[in-house]
């Protein structure tokens, strides 16, 4: 056996030695072919422990070392680094996990020692098959893509751009701003949302380092950390924004209308439109489904009035490709459709509103100029705000949407402010006011005379329906047909309440965007059980993803309020920045490799790689793995019917040897 292997059995204080007879294991290891020395040591991971290993490597010219200690997830790096410093290729280190896999989980010293021996035998046999590998480096393109122009994306783009990074900010709507642009006030400070957001929107729109692409969607992502190639579809808006001066005359003159998306359908907009007054860019697009010319070739009023000749009906979608070093996903959320809980009457009873509708109803720039009124124009004398519409609910979304309690308080405040006579009820399960100044805001609302009912609003009925349905005794006095009745049990009173109101506001759960699955796949970002994008670690890597170089920020990762969203936008920017400023990046050495002399071009591996790292060379009829894209999962290796793909460090021979070792005693 030409190999010289050193085996080190760690006591880990009593963590291992208390259950495993480490001397016996070391003696056993000495008897395995290839092992030239075998020692035990109190703490292998300590500096003297590492020094011991390094000295042996230098003095004895060890070909490989096996450290029998804790999990490789703990200290594999430590020992690899130590070996490297001593001149041994780091991949010639093998860890036998005799702590987490053995001493901590096994009852009985005899059994634990036996298991430790088997693990060491396997590690030694495996180490005999190890090959030296080199880590490789690639350059990083010093630019970033930010997907989604809500507050998270705007913040991330601004932070990156201010640091001198070239940023492409892609937004699918005609303007950046996202959900925050729809809000009137923000809790608990009651700042005007537009007042704090629009300066940031304008900054993003005019920043020399930001290339804004609104009305655009990412279509394809290829490449890898440091060098992502991204295809972006720039949807036809039929207005040449280079020529357009944003004078607005076209909008004024356009004779055709459609429901305004921004106003939640509570108002109309023109066929050529700006989604809202402070839109960035402040230049209109044409809605091809509403434009008479695009639909049936008649009209062209806008063309007539546009002095800049910016209207261009020949415009087509076009695809632009950019190369960036890193990506921040900030694609946000959507609100659940209230119709999914028919008992609450949304969509059926005109007096029932969704939260976003209520935001617009409140907004001075909204469809009613900020006057809170029902669809038939009455000022509500009583309003019920129902919490947890689809949140914390196994039938819809198990999670808490985190912001509803607070914006419900905000609504209550706005109602009391604008309609001091109005009765306001909040029907809640628990009040969750965990943020800075939030509990204080709750108390303030109690002081303002809002009624809090602990009990979930269970049913909402129209006044007329109610009268037709229940015994006369159950009809609240003076109930009018256009009113609503909320049925809820006040769990503190232990009594069912029938509450007549003029308006009901629901607080629909935050949901992943309808296309989150597709977007996740496109950017190779996993999703959690709730459907939101999954962070690499919930505590320690909250904006990283398992796709290196792709970060997530804001509500696409899970429900959160504006402060948290902004914080994540900045966090993602800083992670992206620290990546870019490294200028180059080390990439995985334990990749797959197609051995040309064995590949028959059968194409079995094609289509299996989740990272599209395998390509097929049609001319040579061979598959090839792009080292830079390969993450080393080994799926293709297992599938290759010729065993022509080699998994570096996890090759068949290495694993076979490990199996033989494990079963050798």
């Amino acid at each position: 056996m030409p190999y010289k292997i050193g085996v080190y059995v760690c006591h880990c204080g009593t963590n291992i030695a208390g259950m495993v007879n480490v001397e016996e294991v070391a003696d056993f290891a000495r008897g395995i072919p290839g092992v030239t020395l075998s020692r035990t040591y109190k703490f292998m991971c300590s500096d003297p422990g590492q020094a011991l290993l390094q000295e042996d490597i230098r003095k004895n010219g060890l070909d490989a070392v096996v450290v029998a200690a804790c999990s490789p997830l703990m200290h594999e790096r430590t020992f690899r680094r130590a070996a490297q410093e001593a001149g041994l290729n780091p991949f010639l280190v093998q860890i036998a996990n005799i702590r987490e896999q053995c001493s901590w989980v096994t009852e009985g010293k005899g059994a634990a020692t036996e298991k430790a021996k088997a693990l060491v035998a396997a590690a030694v046999r495996r180490a005999r098959e190890h090959q030296p590998l080199e880590m490789r480096r690639v350059e990083i393109t010093p630019s970033a893509l930010v997907v989604g122009g809500g507050i998270a994306g705007i913040q991330a783009a601004l932070d990156l751009a201010d640091a001198g990074v070239q940023v492409v900010l892609v937004e699918r709507e005609p303007s950046i701003g996202g959900h925050m642009a729809m809000f009137d006030k923000t809790f608990p400070t009651l700042d005007c949302a537009a007042c704090i957001l629009t300066p940031k929107m304008v900054a993003a729109g005019s920043h020399p380092n930001i290339k804004l692409m609104t009305w655009s969607e990412v279509e394809e992502v290829s490449g890898f950390v440091g060098n992502f190639k991204v295809k972006i579809r720039r949807k036809a808006g039929y207005v040449d924004h280079d020529k357009c001066t944003g004078c607005g005359l076209c909008i004024e003159k356009c004779p055709y209308k459609a429901d305004s998306e921004f106003e939640q359908g509570l108002a109309k907009r023109k066929a050529i439109y700006l989604p809202f007054a402070q839109a960035v860019p402040n230049k209109p697009i044409i809605d091809k489904n509403a434009c008479a010319y695009l639909k049936n070739g008649k009209c062209r009023v806008c063309v007539k009035f546009c002095e800049a000749a910016a209207i261009d009906f020949t415009q087509q979608d076009r695809v632009e490709e950019v190369t960036v070093g890193t990506i921040v996903l900030a694609t946000g959320f959507q609100a659940m459709d209230g119709r999914r809980i028919p008992e609450l009457g949304y969509g059926r009873l005109p007096g029932v509103y969704s939260a976003l509708e209520f935001e617009r109803l409140n907004n001075a720039a909204g469809p009613t100029n900020g006057v809170i009124q029902t669809r038939d124009g009455r000022a509500p004398r009583s309003v019920a705000i129902l919490h947890c519409t689809g949140s914390r609910d196994e039938n819809h979304h198990r999670y808490c949407s985190r912001v509803c309690c607070m914006y419900a308080l905000k609504y209550a405040h706005l109602l009391r402010e604008k309609l001091p006579e109005a009765r306001v009820y909040n029907f809640y399960i628990d009040m969750r006011c965990f943020g800075k100044g939030y509990e204080e805001f709750y108390k303030r609302l109690q002081e303002e005379g809002v009624r809090f009912v602990r009990g979930k609003g269970a049913q909402v009925w129209g006044g007329a329906e109610w009268k037709a349905m229940v015994p006369a005794a159950a009809v609240p006095e003076g109930l009018e047909d256009h009113q609503l009745v909320v049925v809820a049990e006040d769990s503190l009173l232990q009594q069912v309440l029938h509450v007549p109101v003029d308006m009901v506001v629901l607080t629909p759960a935050f949901e992943p965007r309808f296309d989150a699955e597709e977007v996740g796949r496109r950017f190779l970002v996993s999703r959690g059980a709730d459907g939101f994008f999954l962070e690499q670690h919930p505590k320690l890597a909250p904006v990283s993803t398992t796709n290196e170089g792709v970060f997530i920020a804001g509500a696409c990762q899970g429900p959160k309020d504006i402060p948290d969203t902004v914080a994540q936008g900045s966090a993602a920017a800083s992670k992206a920045l620290s990546l870019i400023t490294r200028k180059e990046i080390e990439i995985e050495a334990t990749t797959a490799h197609v051995q040309d002399e064995l590949c028959s071009g059968c194409r079995t591996c094609i289509g299996l790689c989740p990272y599209n790292a395998i390509t097929f060379d049609e001319a040579r009829k061979r598959a090839a793995v792009n080292d830079a894209l390969c993450k080393g999962c080994g799926t293709c290796v297992a599938a290759c019917p010729s065993s022509a793909i080699l998994a570096r460090h996890f090759g068949d021979r290495q694993i076979f040897s490990e199996i033989e070792g494990l079963l050798s005693l």
Binding site: E343, E394, N395, I429, A458, M469, S491
Partner: protein
Amino acid sequence: MPAATPFLEVADALKEYGAHDLDLCYQCSTCTGSCPWSFVEPLNIRRLIRLAQLGLPGYEGEDLWKCTTCASCQVRCPRGVAIVDLVRSTRAMIGETGLIPQSLRSALGSVKGEGNPWNGKREERNAWTESAGIPRFDPKKHEYLLSACCMPSYDKRSRRIADALWKVLQAGGVRAGVLGPEESCCGEAVRKIGDEGTFTSLGKSNAAAFEKAGVRKVIALSPHCYHTFKNEYAAFGVKVEVHHASEIMQRLIFEGKLKPHKKLDRTVTWHDPCYLGRHNDIFDAPRAVLSALPGVTFREMFRHKKQSLCCGGGGGRMWMETKRGERFSDLRLPEAMAVGASVLATGCPYCVNMFEDSRLGLEREDAIQVRDLAELVAETL
């Protein structure tokens, strides 16, 4: 209210009886607010659950017996708690101490002695089938066992439903037969009342009868029997394919084996029985049948499908007195009339029974008719 000390042994015992989800409840009140009683004389189911969680007195109170097990709360519960099981197990636990309301005891006694809750004689069970010319089940000749519930044997109104169903099955060429007096009540209500012991003996006896007769497929007339055979008889080793009558009728019409042709010229609305709809998600089959009947104008009530209002007859309420004005069935008839229906159709003998009762209390009894789906179908043949 005096101070109380939690008695968690009670909660633990309840879980042994089947209240597995007891601790999952987070007291949001959706159940109480969704309960049909919330319109009239509320049943505070949330409070009962809370008391049970802490084992405090009151969980076994009178309110417990108001529950019709209609599952209106259960389908809404945000924590997915099987509330009907909580009620059932609470009743089962206190049932062992004999605290079952007086009015239910005679029904239970009748089930124990005669195999039906209607104080009818066992030997009269299924006697009606002979006069109707329905053969005894023979696995060589028949594909299905027709399980017609106890009611047609002892209740004239229900007998009409059974006769109609038989006529429909005949017309559709379905090969079916019935069991004789060896059949017993399926035990659904008995179990909901809390008498697990009797339920088990009924289950075993029916399992033996099915086994002996070689039954593989069952058509249940009542959703209660349907529910029990389908979801609860596996415990007795019964592995049969169970269909509700409405599903069979839908299939016969779809396959063209049944051709409704006589025009009815009536406006019909459908009342979803709790055990067909909420408990077993059968909403579409009966509507499909109604839409296939010539001359039927179909109207949906406000509360339909998962939101349907219970008739008030489930969970043992059939045998308990409910005050006028508190009966859900009394509320349901005006609801049906409000949408212009002249026929309230349904698919459960309990519902028919409750509605017929309420109909007698109307100012004009003929303002609306109550029909089982099978009766309507039979009328078109």
